[in-house]
C-alpha cells in the first residue's frame, strides 16, 4: 500500500513539474509559430524589433556570455580551490566566507546592475558596452559558481586525499589530475547554472550593456542580449509579442543546447594517459 502511495505521489509531483513546463512551451510555440524560421536567426532586427530577426542580438549575447564566463570561470575556480583546499570546512574563516558568498548570491540582480553601471560604465569609463555588461554579469554569477565548485571539490572522497598526502603529490598535480576531473560534474553544473542565469539576465544588462539593436563592432560598443530584447519587445513595442515569444524559444533552445554540450563533454574520458 505504502509503495503504491509513494508511486502515485511520485507521478503527481512529476506532473506538477512537467505540466507548467509543457504549458509554457506550448504557449511560446503558438505565439511564435508565424515568426520562427531560419531567416529569423540570420537577419538583423528592423523597426525597433518589429521586423527582421535576431542575428545582431545573438552576436551580442554570445559576446557577453563568453566574456562573462571567461572572467567568472577561472576566478570562480580559483576561489573554490582556495576555499576547499586551504580552509577546513568547519573553520571559522571558511564558514564566514561561505556566508558572505551565500549572501552575495541572494543580492537582487538590479543591485549588481547599479554597481556595474557606477563602477564599470562610469568609474572605469567603459560606458554602456559589451565589456561593462559582461563584467557586471560575471560579478553576479561568481558567488553561485564559487559555491557550486567548492561543494563539488569538497565532495571528492577523503581516501583520495589520504593517498595524495601519503604519496606526497604536488598540489598542482593533485588539482589537475584528480581533483578537477572528480569535481568536473559539479563544476559543470555550476557553469551551466551560471550561464543560464547570465543568459536570462535583464536588469544588470539594461544598466551596463544598454540596448542598442545593431551588431557590436567591438567590446566597447553597446549591445542588446536576447533577454533584454524579449523584455523590450514585450513591454515597449506594440505588437512585439510574437517576436518576443520567438526570441524566448531561441533562448530556451540555447540553454538546452548548452546543457547537452556539457553532458557530452562530461562523457569523454576524464584523464589521459601519462605515457
Amino acid at each position: 500500500m505504502a509503495d503504491r502511495v509513494a508511486w502515485l505521489a511520485g507521478w503527481v509531483l512529476l506532473a506538477l513539474v512537467m505540466v507548467p513546463v509543457a504549458l509554457m512551451v506550448t504557449a511560446l510555440w503558438q505565439q511564435s509559430a508565424d515568426v520562427l524560421s531560419v531567416g529569423f536567426l540570420l537577419e538583423d532586427p528592423g523597426r525597433a524589433g518589429r521586423s527582421g530577426g535576431i542575428a545582431a542580438l545573438l552576436i551580442s549575447t554570445g559576446w557577453i556570455l563568453a566574456l562573462c564566463l571567461l572572467v567568472a570561470v577561472p576566478v570562480g575556480l580559483g576561489c573554490a580551490l582556495y576555499l576547499s583546499e586551504s580552509l577546513p570546512a568547519d573553520s571559522r574563516r571558511a564558514q564566514w566566507l561561505g556566508g558572505v558568498l551565500d549572501m552575495l548570491a541572494a543580492v537582487p540582480s538590479i543591485v549588481y546592475g547599479l554597481f556595474g553601471y557606477q563602477f564599470f560604465a562610469i568609474t572605469l569609463g567603459l560606458g554602456f558596452s559589451i565589456l561593462s555588461g559582461a563584467l557586471a554579469l560575471s560579478l553576479m554569477v561568481l558567488p553561485l559558481m564559487i559555491r557550486s565548485a567548492e561543494q563539488a571539490m569538497r565532495a571528492v572522497p577523503m581516501g583520495y586525499r589520504q593517498a595524495r598526502d601519503a604519496l606526497a603529490l604536488s598540489r598542482w598535480g593533485w588539482v589537475r589530475r584528480i581533483l578537477l576531473p572528480c569535481a568536473a560534474p559539479g563544476i559543470a553544473v555550476g557553469i551551466i547554472l551560471s550561464a543560464g542565469r547570465a543568459l536570462a539576465e535583464t536588469a544588470v544588462l539594461l544598466f551596463t550593456a544598454g540596448y542598442v539593436l545593431r551588431r557590436p563592432d567591438s567590446l566597447f560598443d553597446s549591445g542588446r542580449t536576447l533577454s533584454v530584447h524579449i523584455y523590450d519587445l514585450a513591454m515597449n513595442v506594440p505588437g512585439g509579442m510574437p517576436r518576443a515569444a520567438a526570441t524566448a524559444v531561441v533562448l530556451v533552445a540555447l540553454l538546452v543546447l548548452l546543457n547537452l554540450l556539457v553532458r557530452r563533454v562530461l562523457r569523454q574520458p576524464m584523464t589521459e594517459a601519462l605515457v
Binding site: Y160, L167, I178
Partner: protein, 260 residues
C-alpha cells in the same frame, strides 16, 4: 614494555611518542623498534591510538588540525620530525589504508602518476610500474587492460594496486593500516599472501584487529591498550613470545579473547 629481541640496527625506532588532538591524548609514551625487513603487527582495541601512531611516522598527522606529536621517531637513524622535505620522507615511507583508494585513473596511470610527480625519468616509469604490478601479483591479471579504469577492479585487486602504488616509489618502510579489514575473505587471503611475500624486502608496520592474521604474518607484535581515555603500548615483543608467553597480563587476556 619488554624488549627481548636482539637484532641489527633497527630500521624504525619510536621513543616515547605521544599523539594528541587538542586536549585528547590518543596515545602516550609509545616506544617500539622495527628491524630491517621485519613485519611488526600493531594490535589492540579500537581507539587505543594505533592508527595515530602509524600516521605520526610519515607525518600524515602534520595535516590534521590540532594534532601534536611528541617524542622521537627515527627512520634509518634520522629523526623524521626534523625533516624539512616531506616529499622524500613519504617516498621512503609508503602507506596503505583500510579502504582501497586507487585514484580514478587507469590502472597504469595509478602507478605512472606518482612516478611523474616524483620526477622519475620518463624512460624508467613504465618498467617500474610493471615491476610494481608484478611484485603485488597483479601483472598477469591486468596486463591486457592497463588502460582500463582502476575503479573497475575488484576490492582485493584495488588494494593490491594501492600496495603497488606505494611500492612503485621504492620505499624502505611500508605502513599498512588494516589493509585487509575492508576486504572479503578470499581477497583478504590474497592480500595476506602478498604482504607475506613482501616481508624481508621491506620493513613493515601493520595495524590489524585480526589477531590470527597478526600471528600468521608478523615477526613481532606490539600490543596497544586503552588506559583511561588514552592509549599506550603494553608490550612489544617477538610474535611467538607475545602469543605463547606474554609478558603482560593485559596481553595474555587480549590474546585469549578475554579483554578488548
Amino acid at each position: 614494555m619488554s624488549e627481548q629481541r636482539t637484532h641489527r640496527a633497527p630500521s624504525l625506532v619510536l621513543e616515547s611518542v605521544s599523539v594528541t588532538y587538542g586536549e585528547q591524548v590518543a596515545i602516550r609514551d609509545a616506544s617500539l623498534q622495527v628491524q630491517p625487513g621485519e613485519l611488526m603487527a600493531l594490535v589492540g582495541p579500537s581507539g587505543c591510538g594505533k592508527s595515530s601512531l602509524l600516521g605520526s611516522i610519515n607525518r600524515m598527522s602534520d595535516g590534521v588540525s590540532g594534532c601534536r606529536v611528541g617524542g622521537r621517531i627515527w627512520l634509518e637513524g634520522e629523526d623524521v620530525r626534523q625533516r624539512h622535505d616531506l616529499t622524500v620522507l613519504r617516498r621512503q615511507v609508503g602507506m596503505v589504508f583500510q579502504q582501497p583508494n586507487p585514484f580514478p585513473l587507469s590502472i597504469i596511470d595509478n602507478l605512472l602518476f606518482p612516478l611523474a610527480e616524483h620526477r622519475v625519468p620518463r624512460g624508467q616509469r613504465r618498467a617500474r610500474a610493471e615491476q610494481a604490478l608484478r611484485d603485488v601479483g597483479l601483472w598477469e591479471e591486468v596486463k591486457e587492460r592497463l588502460s582500463q579504469p582502476a575503479l573497475g577492479l575488484s576490492g582485493g585487486q584495488q588494494q593490491r594496486l594501492c600496495i603497488a602504488r606505494a611500492l612503485v616509489l621504492e620505499p624502505q618502510v611500508l605502513l599498512l593500516d588494516e589493509p585487509c579489514s575492508a576486504l572479503d575473505p578470499v581477497s583478504s587471503r590474497v592480500v595476506e599472501a602478498l604482504i607475506r611475500s613482501l616481508k624481508g624486502r621491506y620493513t613493515i608496520l601493520m595495524v590489524t584487529h585480526n589477531l590470527a592474521q597478526a600471528r600468521r604474518l608478523a615477526d613481532s607484535v606490539t600490543v596497544c591498550w586503552l588506559e583511561g581515555q588514552c592509549g599506550c603500548v603494553v608490550e612489544s615483543n617477538g610474535c611467538e613470545q607475545v602469543f605463547e608467553n606474554p609478558a603482560h597480563p593485559i596481553t595474555a587476556a587480549y590474546c585469549a579473547g578475554e579483554a578488548g
